[in-house]
Symmetry: C2
Subunit: 394 residues, 2 copies
């Protein structure tokens, strides 16, 4: 018998599987090219060619026992140093390899962070809409998610409600900007206000509140918008980064944490993150890809690919009468559901072979998420369906 905690997860996962099976069923009837799957954040975009070049060069020129071997649980020292230097150059910070812990993607990094920080019943504040997995990650360590309700005007965080929800049990706050599912980038104004609230609350409550910046979409921004680097605004910041999107390597599970010297209890946090990496069974981030990304720090996927998709999808959908803000980053469009029930709307979309995700999955009912990390032609071919769909409602 499986554990009691897993029973509900398994029920939930059969819903996801049902959606996946439905996609497969539609594909078998209409052909895969006639099913428009906007449900997953799986980039349909090759990594930059430098990734392959780096792999081959490493295999030819670095000792294989080292390349595929164990290293410190935190990762290769030289890789961590290279990453620290790269961050310093970009954001005028002063990190060293001691501030970097290599992780099994951003998801691994968040689990390591929560394992490091959370006592049972500790509270983790998130801003809706938020990536639903945060709830599981916190629950893994008996932490509790406290949700700040969405500000559906511009999807910047609702800071008044945020302030009221911080208690002496608040151990961490997660920010995800550029945001999944809205594509919104939190402005510097937002960051300053938000971190000022945290500073006040730390003082008032006499506690440490860690700000966790989950940044897998940092490089995916449009129109030259700037994404503030949070360690510069608030001492108790831990950054979780991933190469899943910036280098189109989601399956390789490679990312890192930045734990600045200024973080409360720094030495212990770094040591605990190292140990957590080991005992959670990651042991270390995959070794070859640690070495690969160290050679590709200045590369990223061609953002024009996503931008073209964004422009087409946004301009067409709004012209059909859909209501949404224009995303500034990531590869999601977060659209107001033309009917109140977002789950029902996603079911209606299936009739047009369109697969999308209800906002309810992100604690924001009444909206739907369209992941546009797909081929341009998929969008082109799906547009008539999107048009018919909204017309069928009017």
């Amino acid at each position: 018998m499986i554990s009691k905690k897993m029973v509900d997860y398994v029920k939930g996962s059969s819903l996801i599987r049902a959606m996946f099976e439905e996609g497969k069923r539609l594909a078998s009837i209409y052909g895969a090219e006639n099913v428009y799957d906007f449900s997953l954040g799986n980039p349909n975009l090759e990594p930059p060619s430098t990734v392959k070049e780096a792999i081959v060069d490493i295999l030819n020129n670095e000792p294989n026992t080292m390349v595929h071997g164990y290293m410190s649980n935190s990762g290769y020292e030289d890789v961590r140093e290279t990453i620290a230097n790269s961050i310093n150059k970009k954001f005028n910070t002063s990190f060293t390899e001691k501030n970097i812990v290599m992780t099994v993607g951003a998801a691994g990094g968040l689990n390591v962070t929560f394992k490091t920080l959370l006592n049972p019943e500790d509270e983790v504040v998130v801003f809706a809409p938020y990536f639903g997995e945060y709830r599981s990650y916190a629950a893994n360590y008996d932490g509790k998610l406290v949700v700040v309700s969405p500000n559906t005007i511009d999807f910047q965080p609702n800071l008044d409600e945020f302030k009221s929800k911080i208690t002496d049990k608040t151990k961490a706050v997660i920010i995800n900007s550029p945001n999944n599912p809205t594509g919104v980038v939190y402005s510097e104004e937002t960051i300053i206000k938000l971190t000022n609230i945290l500073k006040e609350k730390q003082k008032e409550l006499g506690t440490d509140i860690y700000l966790i910046s989950d940044e897998p979409y940092r490089e995916l921004v449009y129109d030259n918008i700037q994404v503030p680097y949070l360690t510069k605004y608030y001492d108790n910041t831990i950054v979780g980064y991933s190469y899943s999107k910036s280098l189109s390597l989601p399956g390789e599970r490679i990312g890192y944490l930045v734990i600045p010297n200024e973080v409360s209890d720094f030495e212990n946090v770094v040591s605990a993150a190292n140990v957590a990496t080991r005992i959670l069974g990651y042991v270390n981030a995959p070794s070859l890809f640690q070495r690969v990304i160290a050679r590709c720090l200045d590369d990223k996927v061609n953002i024009d690919f996503y931008n073209k998709n964004r422009e087409l999808l946004y301009s067409e959908l709004t012209s059909y009468g859909y209501n949404c803000i224009k995303p500034e980053g990531a590869f999601y469009l977060f659209v107001k559901s033309p009917i109140e029930n977002d789950i029902e709307f996603c079911n209606m979309a299936k009739k047009y072979n369109i697969l999308i995700v209800p906002g309810t999955s992100f604690a924001c009912p009444g909206y739907i998420r369209i992941a546009y990390c797909v081929a341009y032609s998929t969008i082109e071919n799906a547009l008539p369906g999107f048009k018919s769909l909204i017309e069928s409602i009017k």
Copy 2:
């Protein structure tokens, strides 16, 4: 402040780090080539050349978005099918891709298994000496390790004590054969007796007891000894495998679980393992290396390399008066400490620039572990030190 649970881990890890730092200190004084590090199971042996060939061929001939992309949390279906077929051929089983979950190494697989199965206070039985990380893996899910004391005659499990330690709280039993740290392979006779005890106890208690076979060393056996395949002896068996040793890829974190149809609550166990892979933040086993190992299933490192080390170390140490059984598998020699206090003995060894691990770390005080996955010359050069060390005690 870090979580209360992590405080002790961090203390423990600073002991390990102290040992590591001591190694570095010795290397800086005497030169790295004059420090004999037998403390880690990090193979000093290249992967078979087919690994590199597979990587290059995959990068050249498979679609890059697929190779580096997300797939089912359980892993690529074709990879899992290939693995199932390979196991079936070797062990006359009848697994399909449904029975295989790709994991982030064996450590990832054990964490997924415990997350899937354990309720708080559930007991997991282990046989001393055992790999110390099992304790952390079980504790991650609030499980409790119940230790069967070592049988120091031949290091086969102590079955009488085992029988007496199974209660209605026993959820799982871990077997690790070939064994770290002893190198012993559990005989078929042992397996039959052990699984018979489990069958009786399941019946008597009306519970499910899962037998977890942790098998990272399965391929590393000497003198053509056979390692029984446990699913054939006991229905409720879950196998955890890793390519860390068989292909010398410990840093790549690639392995799998076998969950047979016959396992109690099969559908839920498989679904929960899939979900656990996701929510523990692994998301999936590293994608490129899933595809690589599927092409290298019949390859393994040159076992002669380890066998030469085994023969030299065993024959020389016993000729100096050290007392140990000859390992049948893995790459460890588990030696009776010439003085009662194994920790003190390991400290004495440092005077000869020899780094070894006390048996206390494996719940078997009075012994020491020597990892011989090192260069042959390291053993040759360390032998005079081992000799002087035991002579200094007599």
